[in-house]
């Protein structure tokens, strides 16, 4: 059984939810991820999203776009992201890796070459937010043949047909976008979120992780009450960007999220 699915299954048996932090690779410094990612598991993360910077990150808000621009200016690239993932594996990091990146850099890298190198670098799953399932055929076939999960997104506006398609195809877990919009810190969660999760839950047994706009330990705890996983991106990127010691800041913030989630469970 694949790593991501196993991770969710194990957590479920223990009555816990996955905490999935997102980091922008190459931010704030080119090699920051090499310091940040190793401390996440001890702080209570169960998977990590490794964000590949892109010049035009359509699904992201201002925080992650700014981080991506800085990372690109630092010299980050898709090839280097994969190289750093492999280095993290070589240093003994066992946390499941979910690569999150936009389609054009992957297309230019070459789909086949990308899948082969991602697998060789220890990537367990990928999220390509600007690649809908209808257009994902080639990458999907290559990835699934190599055991690389492709995780697809659902939005609260997705209709029943869409929910069917995405839950059937999504590997590892299904990524539920908590709100209608882009990533970024919000003051409060959408009141419809719980219903949305229930609607998806009705048609699939796959784990459901919720992301976009989850910024505080309280919000993470709230989401953990009805979802299988909580994804925190922009808020963590903000903490990391503002800190003198990015790895320390990441550890403290992830630990606070974990404590709140476990308290609620």
């Amino acid at each position: 059984m694949k790593t991501i699915a196993t991770t969710f299954k194990r957590l479920k048996l223990n009555g816990r939810q996955a905490l999935i932090p997102y980091v922008t690779m190459g931010y704030p410094a080119l090699e920051s991820a090499l310091d940040i990612v190793p401390v996440l598991a001890a702080a209570g993360a169960n998977l990590v999203e490794l964000g590949v910077p892109f010049s035009d990150p359509l699904a992201d808000g201002a925080t992650i776009q700014a981080a991506a621009q800085r990372a690109l200016a630092n010299g980050m690239s898709l090839a280097l992201c994969l190289e750093q993932a492999a280095m993290l594996r070589a240093r003994g990091v066992t946390l499941p890796f979910v690569g999150m990146g936009y389609y054009n850099p992957i297309l230019q890298f070459g789909l086949e070459r990308f899948v082969a190198q991602a697998v060789a670098s220890g990537i367990d799953g990928i999220i390509v937010p600007d690649l809908p399932p209808e257009e994902a055929g080639a990458l999907y076939a290559l990835a699934t043949a190599r055991g690389l999960d492709i995780i697809f997104l659902l939005a609260p506006t997705s209709d029943a047909t869409r929910i069917q398609t995405v839950t059937a195809l999504s590997g590892g877990f299904v990524y539920l976008v908590s709100l209608v919009g882009v990533t970024g810190v919000r003051d409060s969660l959408s009141p419809d979120l719980k219903d949305f999760v229930a609607r998806v839950r009705a048609v699939t047994e796959k784990p459901l992780a919720v992301g976009f706009g989850i910024a505080t330990p309280e919000q993470a705890a709230q989401v953990a009450q009805f979802a299988d996983g909580v994804i925190v991106g922009s808020a963590l990127v903000k903490e990391i960007g503002a800190a003198a010691n990015p790895a320390g800041a990441a550890r403290a913030f992830v630990a606070a999220l974990r404590a709140a989630m476990d308290g609620a469970a």
């Binding site: 892109f54 010049s55 035009d56 359509l58 699904a59 808000g61 201002a62 776009q65 700014a66 621009q69 690109l72 690239s77 898709l78 090839a79 389609y103 054009n104 850099p105 992957i106 297309l107 230019q108 890298f109 600007d130 939005a155 506006t157 709100l179 209608v180 919009g181 882009v182």
Partner: protein, 374 residues
């Protein structure tokens, strides 16, 4: 996206919808626009007879109104009360603000802060028309960043908002929808040239940013194999300088990629990061070309060339002096190609050049380049 496609197909099959659109194009936008024989330009160049399709005479001063009217009517039919749009040169923003005023829709226009600076007059026009112009300070602060922001707004407010995309770009069904709404240009030009000259033209010339005015002119002639189609991209400071927006000119940087939901030729670096572009005309300053142009180029149906900033500025002055028509800087790229090409053709041959917009909005830029204080 699916909701939009279904609504679009239903609308185009509904005689009431197409009748209302035709009525507005005629009574409000001033269509049909004339096809003007450019006698002095033709004489000066000593080659092909040059006709100008006068989109500069459409309401708001550019072809953008054709698509704005079509999509705004569609949005209203879909029950949307709010419109968001991107704009580069400001022409599409003005057209969108105009139709929103006409139809009583709320309007927000996203515009890169670099473009706001070079198109101040159009910002004022949009404000007068009741639209809110939001500056975009991310990335290159031009059209592509305005599109990013408009898409973000749209996905955030999709329940009551329509994204009125201004060029033949982006995800399906936009390229097709924009082409269809702009095809009125070519449909009219075809009838007009048959009436004026008794035959089809030999060459059509239009500038290509995203490519909506070009596809609008070209599309009704696609089946006429003897009509050559020439698209003119922005050569900026020259291809060798790397500061341009000519997606087809240099295969090292203009490669097939995916931007804003469309697979087409995109200016990008080796890692697939989208390149920064440059053109003196904000409306051509975009890293990707409309996917149908990429197709027409790959199958050999259309040819794509470029004109530099300098050539476009010279062409703007030439057309102003010889014909009393000040074209938009975008359209001046097409005129520049006509100036190069017409002398190589015979006086029996006919060329139609699309004057996609008028140049009033560009006086600030032209003054700067010419070193004139205004």
């Amino acid at each position: 996206m699916r909701e939009l496609e279904a609504a679009y197909i239903a609308a185009m099959a509904d005689a009431d919808f197409t009748r209302e659109l035709e009525h507005l194009l005629h009574e409000y936008a001033g269509r049909p626009t004339p096809l003007t024989f450019a006698a002095r330009l033709t004489e000066a160049l000593g080659g092909a007879q040059i006709y100008l399709k006068r989109e500069d005479l459409a309401h708001t001063g550019a072809h953008k109104i054709n698509n704005a009217l079509g999509q705004a009517l569609l949005a209203k039919r879909m029950g949307k009360r709010r419109i968001v749009a991107e704009t580069g040169a400001g022409q599409h923003g003005v057209a969108t603000a105009t139709v929103c005023a006409l139809l009583g829709l709320e309007c927000v226009v996203y515009m890169g802060t670099v473009d706001i600076e070079r198109q101040k007059l159009n910002v004022l026009r949009m404000n007068l028309l009741g639209a809110e112009v939001r500056g975009v300070d991310a990335g290159s602060r031009t059209l592509k960043d305005a599109i990013n922001e408009a898409i973000r707004d749209w996905v955030t407010n999709v329940r009551d908002t329509h994204y009125l995309l201004g060029s033949a770009l982006g995800p399906h069904p936009y390229p097709r929808m924009v082409r269809d709404f702009q095809s009125v240009i070519g449909v009219e030009a075809r009838e007009q040239i048959l009436a004026a000259a008794g035959r089809l033209p030999d060459v059509l010339v239009a500038c290509v940013g995203g490519g909506s005015n070009a596809i609008g002119l070209f599309h009704p002639f696609l089946q006429d194999a003897d009509v050559a189609l020439i698209g003119v991209e922005a050569g900026g400071a020259g291809i060798a300088s790397g500061r341009h927006a000519a997606r087809f000119a240099d295969p090292a940087v203009g490669r097939v990629g995916v931007l804003h939901g469309a697979q087409t030729y995109v200016l990008q670096d080796a890692d697939g990061q989208i390149a920064l572009t440059h053109s003196v005309s904000a409306g051509l300053d975009y890293a990707a070309v409309g996917p149908e142009h990429a197709w027409m180029r790959d199958v050999g149906r259309a040819e794509y060339v470029y004109a530099t900033d300098r050539e476009a500025l010279d062409a703007l002055q030439t057309l102003s002096r010889l014909e009393g028509i000040i074209p938009a800087l975008e359209s001046a790229h097409a005129i520049a190609e006509a100036i190069k090409r017409a002398p190589t053709m015979s006086p029996e041959q006919i060329m139609i050049v699309n004057v996609s917009g008028r140049g009033d909005k560009d006086m600030h830029t032209v003054a700067q380049v010419l070193g004139v204080e205004v």
